[in-house]
């Protein structure tokens, strides 16, 4: 049991990254429209986040410095500030969507309009950050989020034609009626969702919160190599379920209740209940992740005291940033802005900013001043560099593609 609890940081980070409100819809939508022909992108994304999260966790364990410290140190005051403003904006959009996402899950369970839930959810997110111990928080929401494994049960109980499912995933082809630009746009959205920067902000700061030292490098590896593939597997199962149940019936996905449809069809009400608990935990976890990340990155850029490992009184500006972000997110959510559209845009926009965050990690993971003999191995540097090239290509292509395809419409 203790071993499982030691990897809840990785599980929560990955669930918040892979199956937050925007990804839940994006994955089901991709499954319904493209069946399994985009599954390979999720796999590519899982490997990418594993490589960079491992580096960021290792740097945090060895030197005690989280990701935005590295961004500031390697990019300097000006470019670092540009990254801070961009990351904070994207993070804020995601936080807004997650608060609304928790509210939508509560609406599905209670039939009370989600707008009434938003202020309640925002308050709960803040109170958890204000009062609950970091490790308790990650255990509750990480483990509860694992309820989403129900998506796997759905696939199994639907008795799919496994051969054609696997063939569809390994031999990707364009479904009729979809264009190549749209296919590329969804590929970027899935890749961007796998590698959202707030995952490494949260993961590396969490490593400092848990006071990892060079002795904890095994814990880091276990978190990364179990947590992220688990998050990715859940998103793949969701995609498979949608491709089995929704695609043949020509149902497209745009709301959370449509995401739940395959589960309801295959497993009935009990399945739906489990799903709602999982969705609540995953979106609430993602709200905690992005709410804390806002405080982490601003404090780390300016050098302020941050973290839940000290009482709030000792990190006043950190808590002020978190509080203001949650309050503003709730206000933006109350404007009835479609939270699902918001995350879809924020994922794609974040794809454009990815290199600014991942470049400093790659550089510092090779710096013996920080790392001593724990610098990157040659294999790690090779994979890291290949991914860095992919990140740069994507960051250039993403915005033109978004405009050209009218955001995948």
């Amino acid at each position: 049991m203790k071993r499982i609890l030691a990897i809840t940081l990785g599980i929560l980070t990955a669930i918040g990254g892979f199956v937050d409100i925007g990804d839940l819809v994006a994955n089901a939508e991709t499954g319904a429209r493209f069946r399994m022909s985009l599954a390979w992108v999720v796999v590519v994304g899982i490997i990418g986040i594993i490589v960079y999260a491992e580096m960021s966790g290792r740097v945090a364990a060895v030197s005690g410095r989280p990701v935005f410290d590295l961004v500031r140190e390697r990019l300097g005051a000006r470019v670092g500030l540009t990254n801070l403003i961009a990351s904070l904006f994207i993070n804020f959009l995601t936080l807004t969507a997650e608060i609304a996402g928790v509210a939508l899950a509560l609406e599905l369970a209670s039939s009370v309009n989600y707008l009434l839930w938003i202020p309640v959810v925002a308050f709960l997110v803040w109170i958890v950050i204000w009062r609950v111990k970091f490790e308790t928080m990650e255990r509750i929401f990480g483990l509860m989020g694992l309820m989403l494994i129900v998506f796997g049960v759905v696939v199994w109980r639907a008795h799919p034609d496994w051969g054609s499912l696997i063939h569809g995933a390994t031999h990707p082809s364009l479904p009729r009626g979809e264009g190549l630009p749209t296919y590329c746009y969804f590929a970027i959205a899935l890749f961007g969702a796998a590698m959202t920067p707030y995952e490494v902000f949260f993961f590396s700061s969490g490593a400092v919160e848990e006071r990892w030292s060079p002795k904890d490098l095994n814990v880091n590896r276990a978190n990364v190599f179990i947590g992220f593939p688990l998050g990715g597997a859940i998103s793949l199962m969701l995609m498979a379920g949608a491709s089995i149940v929704l695609a043949p019936r020509g149902i497209s996905v745009g709301t959370l209740s449509q995401v739940a449809l395959p589960t309801t069809v295959v497993l009935g009400k009990i399945g739906l209940a489990v799903l709602l608990v999982g969705v609540f935990a995953a979106t609430f976890g993602a709200a905690l992740e992005t709410g804390l990340s806002a405080g982490y990155i601003v404090s780390q850029y300016f050098g302020w005291q941050w973290g839940k490992f000290v009482p709030p009184k000792k990190a006043p500006r950190f808590h002020l940033v978190v509080m203001v972000s949650i309050a503003l997110g709730a206000l933006l959510g109350l404007t009835t802005l479609d939270p699902i559209k918001v995350t879809e845009y924020s994922i794609v926009l974040s794809a454009a900013a990815l290199p600014l965050t991942y470049f400093p990690i790659l550089v510092v993971a090779n710096d013996p001043d920080y790392m001593g003999d724990k610098v990157n191995s040659k294999v790690m540097n090779f994979i890291g560099s290949v991914y860095f090239v992919i990140l740069v290509v994507i960051s250039v292509a993403t915005i033109p593609l978004m405009i050209f395809t009218k955001a995948g419409a």
Binding site: R78, G80, E210, Q300, F309, P316, H319, D369
Partner: protein
């Protein structure tokens, strides 16, 4: 100069690093450095102080945003012409991934805004001193 003796690439090894006080608390960032040139242009410059906080950062950022930040810093400061907060290099214990000081951060000028936010906002919310939610409190 009593600090002399170690050659560093100050831009790479000092600038933009985290400052940590004697209690292990975070006390700002190395936003700029004060350099003193010894004698008649002989030898490399010597780092005599760390400059931190908005007064120093605004000059690094530059442009309209930088001058706006500087004017806010000057207005909020009790002195008419404050300049950046200064940490003499003599109180630096050591530096590698972070710069460690021999003083608590409460004694640094750069801590003023942190104190203000703590005293006027955060301390007034119930639970601000809550040790139970932290690692030490277990």
């Amino acid at each position: 100069m009593e600090y002399a003796g170690r050659m560093i690439d100050a831009g790479l090894q000092l600038l933009d690093r985290q400052i940590i006080d004697v209690n292990g608390e975070m006390a700002g960032n190395v936003d700029d450095l004060e350099l003193t040139f010894p004698g008649e242009g002989t030898g490399p410059p010597i780092v005599t102080a760390i400059l931190a906080g908005p007064g120093a950062l605004s000059r690094r950022i530059g442009g309209r945003l930088g001058s706006w930040l500087e004017s806010v810093h000057e207005r909020l400061h009790p002195h008419p012409d404050p300049g950046p907060a200064r940490i003499p290099f003599g109180v630096v214990k050591k530096f590698n991934a972070a710069v460690e000081l021999t003083l608590p951060r409460a004694e640094l000028e750069v801590d003023r805004l942190e104190k203000w936010v703590r005293d006027t906002i955060i301390s007034k919310i119930p639970g601000a001193e809550n040790e139970a939610a932290t690692e030490e409190g277990g």
